[in-house]
Amino acid sequence: MRRHMHGFGGRFRPEAELVTLVQLKSGQSGTVVDIQGGRRMTDRFNALGIIPGKKITKTSAMLMRGPVTIEVDRVEVAIGFGMANKVMVKPDRVP
């Protein structure tokens, strides 16, 4: 990461690498960084074990703002579009 920052001056912010669960590509893995929802939403995500720092893999997304399906600790979870849009993920580097 260091060497990419070379030449960008101080303007390169690490957050720029983050994507939402909706933006993450199907089949791609990443780490949950932030859940930008209200108390109620974070409560429900916490109950399902989806918390910052957790590794997830996106399985699929339905068309027309449909739910996003992810795998977290070997369990599939379907997340409505609006909520999925509020989950920030740091995608794994594709080797």
Binding site: S26, T59, P67, T69, R74, E76, A78, G80, M83
Partner: protein, 569 residues
């Protein structure tokens, strides 16, 4: 008496274990939220009787749904907790375990689905886990009964390390440490079940799978239902029961007050099992000869869909459409249950999170989702006029469901949360539970429906003889005849629809209706007034104000739809 609570995350097999421990049959399926209320039973524990409670599944003791609130309230009343844990997903399940340990209630852990860990490449160090948690940990496979004996033997060892209360972050940190010490995951390749699972929630392949499964379900339900009617029940009624009834009819003089009640009216000088409407003719033929076959075939197919784990995937596919109706995808599960019987369907709306969703879902089910008993009669009576007319009835109800949902979504205040569900892995349905569940539901139908059907037929005959129906018919004639284009006698069927929809539709049979009129009658009957059992459960679940709102919507929708159909047909 010692009270033992079975607690754990949704869909980890608590109800299966409950049945194993108590012998009490509980409805078991492969999706989170099957148990929405609690079931109690008894078991022998060291020569003494103990009470066991099957608590609805909960992820946390900070409740996020009604089922979780019930779980929390029950926790205060328990002496011992059996914490049922999914061995496949130890991380998330341990969150509830730690919360329970903080509450200080004596506990044993049943590490269920233990057999799955091996082929999923998961190694768990049991001794280490027991040491870290400070309570007995027993591996179990509730479906086969493996480990259940050991679990029972270890219940007296239940204890609590009385962990100090902590915060969420500390709990997750503690879980991280435990997992690192006790769990080892081996790498392995995707199985065909996982590939099928992925394909079911992808837009294109998922859509084809859903269409295929729904078409196959419909075909199998028809095949089994018609098969039972044509090759088993009709022959039984025709060869065994018909001669007895003819003889009895002759003995009773073929007419008169008692004859009309027991045998009913003769049609062209003969007993007609559908049209005669006596206790021993239609009173037995409608439930056993027409409805029962479809109850059996519908619940057989539904049971398989439930136990394979397909339904949550259907919920994902339907989510976008259901949002237009003010619901989210998971509402498809109560809706499908409603095609069997509206009563459990409206109870199942408890899996939805907000009051608004529950009102919309329950109203739509009670208006536009015909129960299996009514559907069997639609197939029997409307089907005689041609399958096209059956299609019109179903098509109309489906359009009503969509339009009404759309309107309710625009008008009902409040908010509808989004879909957030766990999708269980596909499993081959265990035949024992499929058949047990089928028997459980069929028996439930017979026990609840038969007395009401017989009572309804008795009431109908008495009211006919007293001339009450004529008075009602004349009074409502402008609506029934003018708006719906039905003969005024058809109102008796609409009134009886409040008791039983199947009997009510049967009452349209002797009226010599045109096919168009029969379609209008079937649709209005399906939409207008839920049967009394549904009415009661709606009152309990929604409260009187919402019930009255739903009834208002119902009357307007039924009359408008019936009126439009009358103009078209």
């Amino acid at each position: 008496m010692t009270r033992i609570l079975l607690m754990g995350n949704p869909n980890v097999g608590k109800s299966v274990l409950f049945s194993r421990l108590t012998g009490v049959q509980a409805i078991v399926s492969n999706y989170p939220g099957t148990t929405i209320s609690y079931t109690r039973g008894n078991m022998k524990l060291a020569e003494e009787l103990a009470e066991v409670i099957d608590v609805p599944g909960t992820y946390t003791l900070e409740p996020t749904s009604e089922a979780e609130e019930i779980a929390l309230r029950l926790l205060d009343s328990g002496d011992i907790v059996i914490n049922v844990v999914n061995a496949i997903n130890l991380e998330r399940n341990l969150y509830l375990t730690l919360q329970l340990l903080e509450r200080g209630v004596p506990m044993v852990v049943a590490l269920n689905l233990w057999d799955d860990t091996k082929h999923r490449g998961i190694d768990i160090d049991l001794e280490k886990l027991e040491e870290r948690l400070g309570v007995p940990v027993i591996p179990t496979v509730a479906v086969t009964g493996q480990g259940v004996k050991e679990l029972v033997e270890n219940i007296p060892r239940a204890t609590s390390p009385q962990l100090p209360p902590t915060t969420r972050d500390q709990r997750w940190a503690a879980i991280g440490q435990i997992i690192e010490q006790v769990q080892h995951i081996r790498h392995r390749h995707h199985t065909w079940r996982e590939r099928l699972s992925d394909a079911s929630v992808k837009p294109l392949s998922g859509g084809f799978i859903a269409l295929g499964i729904l078409a196959a379900s419909f075909f199998i339900i028809r095949l089994i239902g018609e098969g039972l009617i044509n090759y088993v029940l009709n022959p039984l009624f025709d060869t065994l029961w018909a001669p007895v009834i003819s003889r009895l009819s002759q003995l009773m003089g073929s007419t008169g007050f008692l004859h009309d009640i027991v045998i009913g009216k003769l049609i062209d000088g003969e007993v007609d099992f559908v049209q005669s409407f006596g206790l021993l003719t239609s009173g037995l033929y409608v439930p056993f000869g027409m409805v029962l076959p479809y109850i059996v075939s519908f619940y057989f197919v539904l049971g398989i869909l439930e136990d394979t784990g397909y339904l949550p995937r259907l919920a994902v596919l339907m989510d976008t459409i259901m949002h237009r109706l003010g619901l989210h995808g998971y509402a498809i599960i109560p809706t499908l249950l409603g095609l069997g019987c509206n009563v459990p369907a409206i109870l199942a709306t408890r899996i939805l999170e907000s009051k608004r969703e529950r009102f919309i879902a329950a109203t739509l089910i009670s208006i536009a989702v015909p129960c299996a008993a009514l559907q069997a009669m639609i197939f029997g009576l409307v089907g005689e006029r041609g399958i096209g007319y059956v299609a019109i009835v179903y098509g109309t109800l489906f359009i009503v469901w969509i339009i009404l949902g759309f309107i309710l979504n625009r008008t009902v205040k409040g908010f509808s949360p989004e879909l957030l569900i766990e999708i269980p892995p596909y499993r081959l349905p265990p035949w024992r539970t499929v058949l047990q569940k089928l028997w459980f539901r069929t028996y439930g139908f017979l026990a609840e429906a038969i007395p009401i059907i017989l009572g309804a037929i008795l009431v109908i005959n008495v009211l006919y003889i007293l001339g009450v129906f004529d008075a009602i018919a004349n009074f409502t004639a402008p609506v029934v005849t003018g708006l719906l284009g039905l003969p005024k006698e058809a109102v008796t069927a609409l009134v009886i629809g409040f008791l039983r929809k199947d009997v009510a539709l049967g009452m349209l049979a002797p009226l010599a209706l045109t096919s168009g009129q029969l379609v209008v009658g079937s649709v209005v009957l399906a939409m207008l007034f839920p049967c009394i059992a549904t009415f009661v459960v709606m009152f309990r679940e929604l409260g009187v104000v919402n019930l009255l709102k739903a009834v208002g919507v119902m009357i307007v929708a039924a009359l408008v739809t019936g009126g439009i159909l009358n103009l078209i047909l």
